[in-house]
Symmetry: C2
Subunit: 516 residues, 2 copies
């Protein structure tokens, strides 16, 4: 903005310059009011290259700052007010996002915490990211916000371009089509629907019509139109909370109790022993038993299994990993039995594991049939490749909005920034550094850090903690916002802009809590 | 902007003024690039009062303009490209939203159509609305877009204020709390979950804990933890397309076939005969039989019914209406049998029926237990009043995003504009005018317009058409984008800024098609 002013003021007399500067200043004040300060001052622009020493965010603080109890007095008052109209029992912190920056989240009392939970693993680039601020202020965004289309009926003319500019440019290998959606649950359920329609299409034979009986019985929620078919998931898996996705979620009773569900099967998921190198034989046996369980269920369940859904790393359920060999075996079994493989990358996708998609670690011989995404994408949907996964007729897979182009623009910018800053490789590197630090700590504090896992998986690192909830709480007092999962796991979910100096702060804070 | 310039240029010499104007022009060009033209020119600001003669949008065209076949050559090329990556079989028109304005939608070939379908009834204020453009360019929006919170865990400090400033200010009478969501399907399914948890809470007795058997069986999708409970819906009802909502959807087989569903009951919904005044006795009998069917199913279904979900006007299924008396009867039956009443206002809500909520027409003695919303709200969720509808523990009703604050800001602005321009009353008036016109046409063309319905329901008007799909297609050739529903209905879903002169254009176009 100043450079524009300089260029245009060359031919102006001194008084005009002064006046133009005044106008400019008025405009700057206006802009400051309209944007976070960094957009006006340019002080916060991320650097252009990956370096473990130079901060991505130039005006990030040098460390956390805890001034009050959390929640402090202002937060407590705000929570009380909010609770009258909105359930606050799951509230963790009440936040001031205008004061949050990069890897640091500010609460309402202006405590500034290093955030390695990142809105349940859903913030990729940090708070008040300038590239996101730029797209958020663009004419494309304005258009997407104020003219929300019913995408399946009235897509904008540039929808192909929008999809190709980002969301499809990072499509998993072998998958070149997308169905856009609203949330992880929505993405998974639409994927399940695609799998069921594909299953029946195959049963019926290509080109066959629906029978009258199918059409009429479907309206009564009865067979054959509404068939008994299943999606298989794994114990401790989490795939969402709506009725279909919740039937495949097996994380905790609190997610499921009192809600009717489909009688779908769950297979055992490997529970590996750590350190992996010490338990190689046992773990191989465990994985092979789990695969046998998968095959047993597919061949013996009371109804056909149309698809298996699996997370590359079971997240909500407790951060459970399996080896590439296990997933290759799973792909082989699904191919053998004509069952689709749906990989749920809602939490693992978009770079955090040191690959753009976590299943890139597996080196599968054939790609998964469907890959779902959400969270760090800031939008949701599923990718597929087989054109037969488009249902036989229009309107079978459809809904009013089919996603939100505004959020797709955000994802596209995230993708560009990940590319520009090489954030996937950066996260692999930072993750390795962080893992080594935690490995050292686990040797010093073997009771506090058990079953450390996530080596070679970027910053997707977790461990079991004997007093997990107390640990998470204490971490706030030393300036870190950190999350848990499963019964006893601490899960790290820093952003992709998390750097070595943040890892040092985190490691120091953890040790401080252990020593206290 | 120009007025700002005028004010600040008073003390400047002529040359400075010229230069300032040049700078201003550069800025205007910049702004024109960044915003639709109206934002820079101010030519498009909506008027401040409701008048049937003065247009809300000053720069709307005087009528539609059809220059090519629809789809025209540019659209056809774009559809071909899009189809490679995104299913286009449900595509209606490929649109240029930057060229759309107010009630007029532009396609990619710059055909400009009067839009009385409005993105499947989801656009309330018209395309490129200046008030929405203003909030979309605000610092609050920037913050909401780039710092997307996990609302249940980390709400922003101003979340209470945001909710109270709009979304809660229009909460249906008696309902003062909200659970925010992503889409109509999501809103309904979360409402169903709330109903099931409430049901089991009542069964268990207040304060009772879950049993071990409930906890463990829920993880296996088995009773008693995963109970056999039902949501009752009505024949031809539409409540969404995810697994739970789809089990209550009974509109068309194409929505349901091949998808597993819950064995939930559907009651008969009244099929009234028109004109209503001629069939008063028959219609009263029909409604009372339908209510008897509701009570029969509640008392005889193989499992308990936790809630009844109903649309005030069945929309997707064919625009079927019932009288306030029917809904009062339904409320009485649900109260008598301890069944919750969920009113699905996804399509009927936010003003189109001449009341802000369609169920305001009913004058219920006690409010519904839950009211869901989406579409014209541009965001989604459910309202409730009874504090016991908050589940017994945190995290039972939860998901990562729990809505999108960016879209909530849009809804809040829609609410403000509806209030400022008195658009609910305006829609009641315009609807009455439009209905009268259609009534006249139905007498001239009794074969073409059958069962005209929606009198006194704002612009929520429909009729049965003998060759509906052909009619909808022909309407495009005379410059109107119009939608259907059910097997044979034409459904009108104009925006809230639809005025008498638009009604005249619409009536003329309809007659033109009838005469052709």
């Amino acid at each position: 903005m100043l450079s524009t002013l300089r260029a245009s003021s060359r031919a102006l007399p001194r008084a005009s310059i002064r006046r133009a500067v005044e106008i400019q200043q008025q405009r700057s004040i206006h802009n400051t009011l309209r944007r976070p300060a960094f957009a006006a001052t340019n002080a916060n622009v991320a650097v252009d290259s990956v370096s473990s020493h130079e901060p991505f965010y130039r005006n990030e603080p040098s460390g956390p700052s805890v001034k009050s109890a959390i929640p402090g007095p202002k937060s407590q008052a705000a929570i009380g007010e909010l609770d009258e109209v909105f359930d606050t029992r799951s509230l963790n912190m009440i936040c001031d996002y205008s004061k949050s920056i990069g890897n640091y989240i500010s609460d309402h009392d202006h405590n500034l915490l290093l955030d390695v939970y990142a809105q349940i693993a859903s913030i990729p680039l940090g708070y008040n990211n300038p590239a996101l601020a730029s797209i958020a202020s663009s004419p494309e965004m304005l258009n997407a916000l104020i003219n929300r289309p019913a995408l399946g009926n009235f897509p904008p003319a540039n929808w192909t371009e929008t999809l190709k500019a980002g969301i499809l440019a990072v499509a998993p290998s072998g998958l070149n089509q997308v169905f856009t959606g609203m949330s992880g649950s929505d993405a998974n359920e639409c994927a399940y629907k695609a799998a069921f329609m594909f299953h029946r299409r195959r049963d019926r034979g290509e080109g066959a019509s629906f029978t009258e009986e199918e059409l009429s019985s479907s309206m009564n929620n009865e067979k054959p139109g509404s068939p008994d078919l299943a999606i298989m998931s794994f114990r401790k898996g989490f795939h969402g909370r709506l009725f279909g996705s919740l039937s495949t979620t097996r994380s905790k009773p609190i997610h499921k109790i009192d809600i009717p569900s489909f009688k779908w099967p769950q297979a055992r998921f490997p529970h590996l022993k750590y350190p992996l190198e010490e338990f190689a034989a046992e773990n191989a046996k465990e994985e092979s038993e789990c695969l046998a369980d998968v095959e047993r269920l597919i061949t013996s369940w009371h109804c056909p299994v149309s698809a298996v859904v699996v997370e590359p790393i079971q997240s909500e359920g407790g951060d459970f990993h399996a080896s590439p060999k296990f997933f290759q075996g799973l792909r082989d079994i699904t191919l053998k039995h004509n069952v689709l493989l749906i990989v749920d990358e809602v939490q693992t996708g978009v770079g955090a594991t040191g690959k753009f998609w976590a299943h890139d670690h597996w080196n599968l011989t054939t790609p998964p049939d469907i890959v779902t995404f959400s969270k760090k994408a800031q939008t949701a949907g599923y990718y597929f490749g087989n054109p037969l996964l488009r249902p036989t007729m229009a309107y079978r897979q459809f809904n009013t909005w089919m996603g939100d182009p505004a959020r797709v623009l955000i994802f596209n910018t995230i993708i560009q920034e990940i590319g520009r800053l090489n954030l996937v490789q950066h996260t692999a590197n930072t993750g390795a550094y962080l893992y080594d630090g935690l490995d050292r700590l686990s040797k010093q504090y073997p009771t506090e850090i058990q079953n450390l896992r996530g080596k070679g998986q970027g910053t997707f690192i977790a461990w079991d903690s004997p007093q997990r909830d107390a640990f998470l709480k204490k971490m706030k007092t030393v300036g870190v916002n950190i999350g848990g999962c499963g019964d006893s796991a601490v899960r790290l979910r820093p952003m992709l802009v998390f750097q070595q100096h943040h890892a040092d702060i985190l490691l120091e804070a953890i040790e401080k809590v252990f020593k206290a």
